[in-house]
Point group: C2
Chain length 120, copies 2
């Protein structure tokens, strides 16, 4: 068993200009180092955003705390809060922002597919 | 963009006897259906536990809310709280429990490796 931390004090601000007011605390080894998928905790400060850009791979954003707005290919923003998640397909233009602050898990990977609930 | 929910009211109790007082809300398609990795939210009620068993694949348990105790191959329990995560290797005997209740993300997959922080 190996202990890890994803607490706010070990999060960092990635290079690049897609993220504004957002820190990242990775859980798994990054795809940039060859992993087939990656999981990380993203913390949006109030007013934070991930600017509109195409998803490199399929991804799921799962809101753990707080609330915000997200949009996909059609550009229509929809509110999301704790317990909500969204799936974006590979190449899909998308955006995420929060007025009041938000903590989310983002999982991504070429083979990622969303869980499909089967009706009883 | 596809909306998903992992809220408590859509979580279920998996078959089998490893979990006591724990519900599961999957985010991604399950490995049982061929996915190379999976991510799900596990909610431990007070007194809930995942009984000691070997990890099928490498896995990371990340505590999102609450606190609990975990152990790995050596059987020594260690406290964990929000912001803490643990990595268990494939085949590693492990256990997780919570007296007061705990919400965790579990990510697992054959190719999963923990994020290694590089000292500046």
């Amino acid at each position: 068993m190996e202990r890890l931390s994803f607490a706010a004090d070990v999060a960092f601000v990635p290079r690049g200009d897609l993220l504004e007011g957002v820190t990242v605390a990775p859980l798994s080894a990054p795809m940039a180092q060859g992993a087939p998928f990656q999981a990380a905790i993203f913390r949006f400060a109030p007013g934070g955003r991930i600017a509109r850009h195409p998803a490199t791979d399929p991804q799921i954003l799962a809101v753990l705390e707080g609330s915000g707005e997200v949009s996909g290919a059609n550009g229509v923003t929809e509110p999301v809060g704790a317990g909500d998640a969204v799936y974006w397909a590979a190449g899909e233009e998308h955006e995420a922002m929060s007025k009041g602050g938000l903590t989310a898990l983002i999982v991504e990977g070429e083979a990622l597919a969303p869980f499909e609930r089967r009706e009883p």
